[in-house]
């Protein structure tokens, strides 16, 4: 297992390096101008030239890459762990990502937990009784959930539960505007509230998370449910299950063995979706004004804020690789044959 993990880590380092350099070069090849946004349209050519020089954009791309990786003067480069400074705000990219990332992780982790709680039992049940009413209902649900983008479902939930019924809180962020936020420790509002002993903030944060989590879980549970059903159907028809049933093993024991054998593809799909959601939850973040990593990425791209774009891509790449590494380890634990492939 150690060799297996080490091999994966070496490949991950090469992937991160390649992606970092590719992103650096590609964004500079795009036909856009980050300087104009920075100085404003009232600026004189002198001001423009100075701002361009300050950003290092008057130098060759290779020279810029050297500074990005190795730093210059007193400023450290990426190789020393510095993601740089945001061109839009002047804050360090690391601090901005440090603020945005926990928001997204909290949102998508809760969404996946809810999606799994719905999708796995339903997928298993429908696999065991194909063609029954529940199976048809779940099929319809899968189609329904996937028929419209998540932001549309989000807006609909806001319209019904906030605007019409007044049950949900305003989609204005993670806490009500006049409520003091708990001291930031992890960046996840629920955990920080509990750590600070702020139950008022915890309940308020939870209320604000319900609609976005339900929106994402609603969309995510469709494909997970389908995958559970498909895998379970395949495994239920396999020889070892038929033998176990013929030998008279209790249904619960058969179910447990079946789930373990069917879980590989479900885990793979969930991991891929999780990695995708790191940046892909942007629309839900935007609808509910949560300000997570997706929103930060889009803002950075629209501003052509090179250090932020590079930082976000790097962080998402590393996190995705970590997720895939964990996935590989889990798959290897579930199915020992995977270690030798």
């Amino acid at each position: 297992m150690t060799r297996f993990v080490a091999r994966r880590l070496v490949i991950a380092v090469v992937q991160v390096a390649a992606i970092t350099i590719a992103v650096f070069l590609l964004i500079r090849a795009l036909p856009a101008d980050p300087v104009a946004t920075r100085v404003g349209f009232n600026a004189s050519p002198d001001v423009y030239r100075k701002a361009k020089a300050d950003l290092g954009l008057d130098r060759s791309t290779l020279s810029q890459l050297g500074t990005y990786l190795g730093g210059s003067g007193t400023e450290r480069g990426l190789l020393a762990g510095n993601l740089g400074t945001s061109w839009a705000s002047g804050s360090t990219v690391a601090s901005e990502i440090g603020d945005a990332l926990p928001i997204t992780l909290e949102l998508i982790s809760l969404s996946f937990l809810l999606a799994g709680a719905i999708a796995i039992p339903l997928g298993m049940r429908t696999a065991r009784r194909p063609g029954k009413a529940l199976d048809k209902a779940v099929f319809g649900y899968g189609l329904f959930a996937g028929a419209a983008p998540e932001f549309w479902w989000g807006l609909m939930l806001v319209f019904v539960f906030y605007f019409k019924l007044g049950w949900a809180p305003a989609p204005l962020g993670r806490l009500s505007p006049q409520l003091q936020a708990p001291t930031q420790r992890t960046g996840a509002i629920l955990i920080d509230s509990l750590l600070a002993g702020r139950l008022d903030a915890f309940w308020d944060g939870l209320r604000h998370l319900i609609l976005p989590v339900v929106t994402l879980a609603f969309v995510l549970s469709g494909p997970i449910m389908k995958m559970v059903r498909q895998s379970m159907t395949r495994v239920l028809g396999s020889d070892f299950v038929l033998y176990a049933q013929a030998a008279g093993l209790p249904p619960r024991q058969v179910s447990r063995s079946t789930l373990r054998a069917a879980f590989g593809p479900v885990l793979t799909l969930t991991s891929i979706l999780y990695g995708f959601m790191l940046g892909g939850a942007v629309l839900v973040e935007s609808v509910f004004s949560l300000g997570g990593l997706g929103q930060y990425s889009v803002k950075s791209v629209l501003e052509f804020n090179y250090p932020s774009i590079q930082g976000v891509v790097l962080v998402i790449t590393v996190l995705s690789l970590v997720i895939y590494l964990v996935l590989d380890v889990l798959l290897a634990l579930l199915d020992p044959r995977a270690r030798h492939r």
Binding site: D33, N42, D54, S86, L172, R174, P177
Partner: protein, 565 residues
């Protein structure tokens, strides 16, 4: 398993209902308001990287204090307060400066400063703060030197482009503040101009020359950042304004509380939560349900939808926001004035106002905002006349050579797309085929400011920060060779250049206005830009909120407000 699923589902639904309906909403205390915008301040240093972002400017103007500001005048019919624009002393009131005199022989302004003014951190205002502010501006040490630029525009002596020169030693010398801004005593400062320039007092009102609290700034300087840009941009901007920063979570929330020591009296609105809500529909819903007291930057359609809503008021002002069509003078077919004029005659202005702005706009009479001093209605006007447009195209020998791209900023699609579509339909009637070309803001900026190669564009973001027709002319219409700052359509008119050279140093208001009127006539004859409509800057707010006033940067001064909630 089935029972377990049902139980889990029922528990989840009950828990969600209980949490959703639990009354944990923290009610706003009296005098506290929530303001929602598409973004919040990204930075607070006006020489920093985010000074061009409107919401950053909102943060700056509410925390900082200028030397002088425009006097107010009666509100418009919608109750929005207005300012008394002009160049005379009578147009201005002292803020940190109590009074001032001007010596025309030496071009020197002497300011008597206000005593007993305290900043948020307890620092007391004096002449050192003013000198520090200009020294910092001249150091051009920030990411975008707005302070230097404004001082240069106001002809403050020695604030020349030398500070940005390629020769580093010479530039460093030029960046040192000399006698041009001089402390006479603790409460007197003299500022010298290199030539008479009417923009001096107007420029001092702009956010980019707000006065810093030197004492606090210097406490936060570092060896590599002697002018405390990092601190001002990311932590706080110490000044003597009506509000003090309470909490700032970048990309999320900006909270201020009233400065109880504010020399003009503690603000009536004692706490403001300025929160980022990117979706305009959510901002709209929040103000309708009373969760927010003021929301900014909705679409015209959204403003229209709540105009008669209970508890919500929508009001606005024709300030300095305009919609223009830009036609590039270096790109056929728009290098021909007859084609440009044909486009002007082809547009259905009434439909654009009705469908694009729901009636909250008026047809433009010129390329300068009509609220600015020096604006004049040009004798060259273009009303919808399809036959005249066709005749002009025929005279120009216009031949269809495929679709012409009409570019606009894609982030503004919800506002500009209906208008671009209308323009496309209007031009099709006279035989000009147009294809819509939405571009991301940064790409649009590159094409407009740097490459200057946008052939045909729809633009609603040009707003001269200097409130003067002369400044707007210098900014947009003087040729680059004669010092034009941002002549984005490659317009060049010797007549306009010559007239502007006279305007620049003209002391007599009447003569200056006559020259500016001639410039505007020429701009409209050439159709340097095609002004389409002047649109209302609008806000939606609680009917318990009063005192809203319009300022040229469109940032609300929260100190103007009263909330009876």
């Amino acid at each position: 398993m089935r029972r377990l699923s049902i139980l889990a589902g029922a528990t989840a639904v009950l828990a969600a209902s209980a949490v959703l309906t639990a009354p944990t909403r923290a009610a706003a205390a009296a005098g506290e308001i929530t303001v929602l915008a598409e973004d919040i301040p990204a930075g607070l240093d006006y020489d920093g990287p985010s000074a061009a972002i409107p919401t950053s400017q909102t943060g700056m103007v509410n925390l900082m204090e200028p030397l002088v500001y425009y006097k107010t005048k009666p509100a418009n019919s919608e109750g929005i307060g207005l300012l008394s624009f002009g160049f005379a002393d009578a147009n201005f009131e002292g803020r940190l400066a109590e009074s001032w005199t001007y010596d025309p022989k030496t071009f020197t302004w002497t300011f008597k400063l206000r005593k007993g003014v305290k900043g948020c951190g307890g620092a007391t205002f004096n002449a050192d703060d003013v000198v520090y502010t200009f020294a910092r501006a001249k150091s051009v040490s920030g990411a975008a030197p707005i302070g230097w630029f404004l001082s240069n525009v106001a002809s403050i002596a020695n604030f020349t482009p030398d500070v940005l020169g390629a020769d580093k030693a010479k530039a460093a010398e030029a960046q040192k503040l000399g006698d041009e801004v001089k402390k006479i005593d603790d409460f007197t400062v003299a500022i010298k101009q290199s030539a008479p320039n009417k923009l001096f007092l107007p420029v001092l009102t702009i956010f980019g020359l707000g006065i810093f609290d030197k004492e606090t700034m210097e406490k936060n300087k570092t060896a590599t950042d002697p002018w405390s840009h990092e601190f001002a941009n990311n932590t706080n901007v110490p000044s003597f304004g009506p509000y003090c920063l309470d909490k700032w979570t970048k990309n999320s929330e900006f909270v201020v509380k009233g400065n109880t020591d504010y020399y003009r009296g503690a603000p009536k609105v004692t706490r403001v939560v300025y929160r980022k809500v990117p979706q305009s529909s959510n901002r709209l819903a929040a103000v309708q349900r009373g969760e927010a007291q003021l929301v900014e930057r909705l679409t015209p359609k959204e403003f229209d939808s709540v105009r008669k809503a209970k508890g919500v008021k929508v009001a606005g002002v024709i300030g300095n926001e305009n919609l223009f069509v830009h036609m590039n003078f270096k790109t056929p077919p728009f290098d021909n004035v007859k084609v440009r004029q044909a486009v002007a005659y082809a547009l259905d202005y009434k439909k654009i106002i009705a469908n694009g702005y729901f009636g909250q706009a008026t047809k433009s009479k010129g390329p300068i905002p009509s609220s600015y001093p020096g604006f004049s209605v040009s004798k060259n006007q273009y009303d919808t006349n399809i036959e005249k447009a066709k005749t002009l195209l025929k005279e120009a020998g216009y031949k269809d050579k495929g679709d012409i791209l009409l570019s606009y900023v894609s982030e503004k699609q919800s506002i500009l797309l209906p208008i671009a579509t209308q323009i496309k339909a209007d031009l099709a009637k006279v035989g000009i085929k147009v294809k819509l070309d939405p571009l991301p803001q940064t790409q649009y900026g590159d094409r407009q400011l740097v490459k200057k190669d946008l052939q045909f564009a729809l633009n609603d973001q040009e707003k001269p920060i200097g409130v003067d027709a002369g400044y707007a002319t210098l900014l947009f219409f003087v040729s680059s060779e004669k010092g034009g700052l941002n002549n984005m359509v490659n317009y060049s008119s010797p007549k306009v250049d010559d007239l502007f050279a006279k305007v620049k140093n003209e002391a007599d208001d009447k003569t200056r206005n006559t020259e500016l009127a001639e410039i505007q006539d020429q701009l409209m004859a050439d159709l340097a830009w095609l002004p389409v409509v002047e649109l209302k800057t609008q806000w939606a707010f609680s009917d318990k909120l009063t005192g809203l006033a319009w300022h040229p940067d469109s940032s609300i001064r929260w100190n103007d407000l009263k909330y009876a909630g």
